[in-house]
Symmetry: C2
Subunit: 514 residues, 2 copies
């Protein structure tokens, strides 16, 4: 069973006793975890709106459904849920069974001026699926999880036509009989959908080459209030600005993605990995850059700073570069070439064979740990960015310094600020930061919001993106608005007004209409 | 000296005697070439408009300038110029020296309702730089060739900030001291500019991976009538729909690209190539697909059908797959892997070592040959597309059949219809067709237009893009309009109206405002 208030499966949540042990690692936290919140304790207001009878069968006002569709899965979502604070639950949760249902729901919502929040797996960590007010008569959460089929596979071109509501594992299960894979594995893989990946320009697990879902798209089918947009299946085209690239990253504000033709790969049959240690972070960055610029395209090229390596059990006090290759032909020669490049920067071989596995299992476990820390009133969250190689050293240093200063000031005690590079490019890297600090019970939300604002200012000041793959949502809007060229905002606003003239689609994300 | 009416350098034009020899290869052509048209014979109407004194220094109404900025370099442009038929020359040619000049010109043009046609190298083959009417008071050709500098190089991130008006060779010359290259070599390389590549989503010479200029862009700076758009330099981002992707392919209709930060590579030090022959085209396609899906990323993976191979001197009656690799480490092992994959499809090694060089020199010479054939009243033009592997065999067959039928009907004699694949992807290929047929003197233009319409219908019927890398311009509009999702057209039109509210920018391309 999925947790309505926290990450993942209820059965995998950290038990109370372990929560206490985790909390003891930080100074001054309460001795007991906040209790797991219960649906029955929530006082949701009654639904403000009702759908017409013709839509009744696909809609629900069930309390648990409304509660679980209120927020995404950011730290601030977990904290609010722990305190039973559901600011604005959707009035209705709809489960369209087909595209016709989506059209009917949008038509009704337009007429009734109801906000429609498209909902895939609900794993947003940026406030992407919550309503935060406006003049709408009500809020409908449009849960696309019933659109969960691979409709057609083209094994010759290695592509598939897939409905947007399919979760990662179900997608891969349906592709497996063909020996094919989308090979897009974000950390949220189990709990997120293809449509969510597309709408948020999600980043997969693989560190180089095809990092974002964008590059895996042949065509999109999108339902908008003014009609259906379906692009042609093309391996490449130069016919005008790409239609797909307008909808990729549109976060439900321009339309509801219902289907995509996606590019697949043969399942890899060869894998090899190694880990290289660096005493000095600057050396580690230089080594990572050398690999990123080598043209070797490792599937894994993840730099963990010493703190992050320690936290994930992959390190021994040093910075660690995890290198891995996958393919349908032997890859060990490629791995050796990459390792040689990295070792040349005062690197040394890690003596632990399983550093990558340690890191990976810790990586998948981390969101549960975050929820456990939240229950102990610790602050525990991540944020991520990208910048060019010439700027990344200064950026990481500035974020570390200012995040630690913000934690010290706001929490009155030092915190942990770790960094890893999740994705690397020939021209830059995507640093990903983890902050863990002691909060004050009852003030966790405002404390984190203050820290997050401080670090977001650092990103903007350094010209680093406010998000490499977590999306903008509502949480990143102030910084996104400053990052985005105003002229492009003008164009985007015009597109929004044209496609969603009654402003019902996910209001609050991306761009303010008119 | 550049030719005002035909391709490239005047000095490299085919001499009359060779024109006659070429013409003799086709049945029923006239015995003498059309004379090379002379500027002094042209009867251009006087300029309908005059710029204010403050802009005088950067503008010209010189007849040769106006004539040479009337058309691009398509076959139909050459033919019209040969007949002295300049339908609508620009009234003024402006050479802005800096961005301030561009802003001033756009402001004046907006007030005066003058159409502004951005002009890079003028090598458009789709009617991208000609004015075809509307309610404007006059036409200004905005020649950006004075904005020709590499402003800044970041060797750490391997990127450069480059002005849009720089021609290919001058760009590479400025990057060479750094050991870096943009490595974007379209057939028009010598005669086209960075800004033109960006505005048209140009395709480079390399067959896989980074085929279009799109992927080489870190950020764009664009002057629009409502302000300047400048995106941040980012190696990757997921912050909303990509701002750059709206301007890439916007063909001057949304703004004037003045600068870009582009991604560079180290200059390759190792090269290896081979050629493989196939008696059967279907085998050759299967072999090409195997290489395209291998993950090996050859720099050259060009399939020539038997006719194309013959024409370019690379073949001996068979279909030829040209394979090449480049890199900063040895590439011969990669070449062997790719060759093995290809040979497995009933391929055999070509006994000529220099097939790639033969093809390449023929490739660069081809536009001059085309002009020579045009002077003999032959029809000689190319068109290109892309589609998925499952569809490419049928598409090529249908285009061949229908193009030959159209030639037979329209020309009353058989013509040559050849095909090559210029770029390949894991999920599909970009077929490029050459048509050579006997025209009737005086009717060449309408004959080609009829053939082109017939083959464009085939592309649309097969769901193949109307252009993989030649852009839409004015010539492809009818088919582009049917290919492009209507809902996306609505968004694009809204963006156009918002950024170019007085509709002065390259009117007629991409989208009809309001």
């Amino acid at each position: 069973m999925r947790s309505w208030w926290g990450w993942g499966h209820v059965a995998e949540a950290v038990p109370d006793q372990e929560c206490v042990q985790l909390g003891a690692l930080l100074p001054g936290l309460p001795g007991q975890p906040l209790p797991v919140p219960r649906i029955e304790d929530l006082g949701l207001p009654p639904s403000a709106i009702a759908v017409p009878a013709s839509l009744d069968a696909i809609c629900t006002t069930d309390k648990a459904e409304r509660a679980s569709h209120t927020y995404g899965k950011a730290y601030r979502d977990t904290v609010r849920a722990l305190y039973g604070r559901l600011d604005r639950s959707p009035d209705i949760v709809a489960y369209p069974q087909n595209e016709g249902d989506v059209v009917r729901l949008l038509d009704w919502a337009g007429d009734a001026h109801v906000a429609v929040v498209p909902y895939g797996g609900g794993s947003s960590v940026v406030g992407g699926v919550e309503y935060r007010g406006g003049d709408h008569t009500g809020v409908l959460s449009l849960d696309l999880s019933k659109l969960d089929s691979v409709i057609e596979v083209d094994p010759v071109s290695r592509a598939a036509r897939v409905q947007a509501g399919v979760f990662g594992p179900a997608l891969e299960d349906q592709l497996k009989p063909y020996g094919l894979t989308l090979r897009h594995f974000p950390q949220s893989f189990e709990f997120s959908t293809l449509g969510g990946w597309l709408a948020t320009r999600a980043g997969g697990h693989y560190a180089t080459l095809y990092t974002h879902i964008d590059d895996l798209v042949e065509s999109l089918r999108v339902i908008t209030p003014v009609g259906v947009s379906e692009s042609w299946r093309l391996p490449g085209s130069g016919a005008g600005p790409s239609p797909d690239r307008l909808f990729l990253g549109s976060e439900g504000a321009l339309g509801v993605i219902t289907e995509a033709w996606v590019r697949l790969q043969n399942r890899p049959t060869h894998k090899a990995s190694t880990a290289i240690l660096f005493s000095d972070f600057a050396d580690a960055v230089a080594a990572t850059k050398a690999v990123a610029q080598s043209g070797l395209h490792p599937s894994n090229c993840r730099l963990l700073d010493a703190g992050e390596a320690q936290l994930s059990g992959a390190g021994d006090g040093a910075n660690v570069l995890l290198l891995g290759f996958e393919g349908t032909a032997p890859v060990s020669a490629l791995l050796e070439q990459a390792a040689e490049l990295a070792l040349a920067h005062r690197g040394r071989r890690h003596d632990r064979e399983n550093a990558t596995e340690s890191w990976r299992s810790s990586f998948l476990r981390m969101p549960y740990i975050r929820d456990a820390l939240a229950r102990m009133s610790a602050i525990a969250e991540t944020f991520e960015t990208a910048t060019t190689w010439n700027a990344v050293g200064d950026l990481v240093e500035a974020v570390r310094t200012e995040a630690k200063a913000a934690v010290q000031e706001i929490c009155g005690a030092p915190g942990m600020v770790n960094c890893r590079f999740t994705h690397v490019y020939p021209d830059g890297a995507a640093p990903y930061f983890t902050v863990i600090a002691p909060g004050r019970r009852g003030s966790e939300l405002s404390m984190w919001d203050e820290i997050k604002a401080a670090v977001s200012e650092v990103l903007n000041r350094h010209g680093a993106t406010i998000t490499h793959h977590h999306a903008v949502g509502r949480d990143h809007r102030p910084w996104y608005d400053r990052q985005r060229p105003d002229v492009f905002a003008t164009a985007l606003r015009a597109a929004k007004n044209a496609l969603d003239p009654r402003n019902i689609l996910n209001p609050g994300v991306l761009v303010t209409p008119r």
